[in-house]
Every structure is written in C-alpha cells, then in structure tokens.
Amino acid sequence: MTEVTDMQRTAIAAESEDPAEGLRAVAALRRLAESLEARQVMTARRAGWTWEQIGDALGVSRQAVHKKYRKVM
C-alpha cells in the first residue's frame, strides 16, 4: 500500500523541481499532445471514422474537432 505510483512520483517531482523546468515541461507536453492529436485524427479519418466518433473518443464535441481539423482533410 505504500507503493508510490508513477502519477504520485510525477506530482512529487513537479513540486520539488525548479518551476522553470516544470513550466517548460508543460509547454513541451502541450506541443506533443497537439502533434499527436492531429496525427491520430487524420489516421482515424482515413480509417473511416466520423467526426462524431472522433469527438467522442477525444472527449470533445463533433463540432470542435471538425472545426479544428477540417482544413487538413
């Protein structure tokens, strides 16, 4: 029960480190998430997923995902 989970370790590291590094990590993570999202949405569209199905999988509305990625398609 005393085992420290990865999530807790991340939270502990985030608190003890220099804020500059932590904030930099957040910015890098956002960029990675954006890049990953775009790639996955394109893969899903090519595989025949509807905007609604993609939105449901991402936890956002069909309109939100369509507005963001329609130009790419």
């Binding site: 590094e21 990590a25 890098a28 993570l29 960029r31 990675l32 775009a38 394109m42 790419v72």
Partner: protein
C-alpha cells in the same frame, strides 16, 4: 518600435525566428526564438561567441527533454523533435504572423532603449543581442545562453563592445 530596426536585419531575424517557432510548434514567438533568429542571420558577435542556429535548436530540444524528465516523463528525442502538424504537408507552413510573448516584446523595447541611449540611429543585431542578454534569470533566451555555456553578462559586454 520594430520599425527602427534596419530593414534587412529585421526581416532576416524575424523570418528565422518565425520559422523556428512554427517548426517547433510553439504557440508564440519568444526570446529564445529571437536568439535563434540572430544566430541564423549570423553576423558579428553571435558568430564570435559560437552561437549557431543548429546549436540553439539542439539546445532547445535538449532542454525540452530535460524538462519533461524533471517531472518524471522520459521521452524519445525523436518524438520531441518530430515535425509539428502545422508544418505537415497537408497544412503547409504557417503563413500568418506568430504573436510575440511579452518577454520578446520587452526584449525589443530594451534593444530600442539601448540603441537610443547610445545615440545610434537604427537597431542592429548587437542591440538586439544586448537586449536579450539582460532579460533576467527566468527569461528563456538567458537560460538558453547559460545552456550554451555563455555568461549573459559577458554576452552583453561583447555586444556593447561590438559597436564602440
């Protein structure tokens, strides 16, 4: 304020700074991108100090990896360096102007102040480098200078020496 920049220098520094901002997928153009722009233009003090665009770009990626590692997220360098989607072939390179961070705006203001106080007519790369070097310990460009093995105070002196 940016109109006071020498036309060709301004275009070259900004174009390179915008390019690397888009290539990295950063939402705003910050002081670290301006430093890259100066390195890409590659004249005077940046060359003497060994600040090349390749080194700046590599150091930005290394910094991202270390930052992610500091919060317990080990990542592959290739993933961090991967081409962001805005530069992807379906979308093409971003065409609109990228907004500046407050830090980048302030660095440009400082460059203008330095230029004016020296009685120079137009802002050159030396003024911009001096403006970036005195940004304070939390500024991204200043941290990048440290990462490149340079003391910002020395960079400031060298920039000032370049026009005296």
């Amino acid at each position: 304020m940016f109109e006071r920049f020498d036309g060709d220098v301004r275009r070259a520094v900004l174009a390179a700074a915008e390019e690397v901002t888009g290539r990295r997928g950063d939402p705003r153009l910050g002081t670290e991108h301006l430093l890259y722009g100066l390195a890409a233009v590659g004249d005077g003090v940046t060359v003497d100090l060994g600040i090349t665009p390749e080194r700046v770009h590599r150091e930005l990626i290394a910094w991202d990896l270390e930052a992610l590692g500091s919060v317990g997220l080990e990542t592959d360098p290739d993933v961090v360096a991967s081409v962001p989607i805005r530069h992807h072939r379906w979308w093409g390179p971003i065409k609109h102007h990228v907004p500046f961070t407050d830090g980048a705006k302030n660095a440009l203001k400082r460059s203008l102040q330095i230029c004016t106080s020296e009685g120079h007519r137009s802002i050159g790369t030396g003024h911009l480098l001096a403006g970036l070097a005195v940004g304070g310990p939390r500024d991204p460009a200043v941290r990048l200078l440290y990462r490149l093995g340079l003391d910002p105070a020395v960079v400031d002196q060298r920039a000032r020496a370049s026009w005296s």
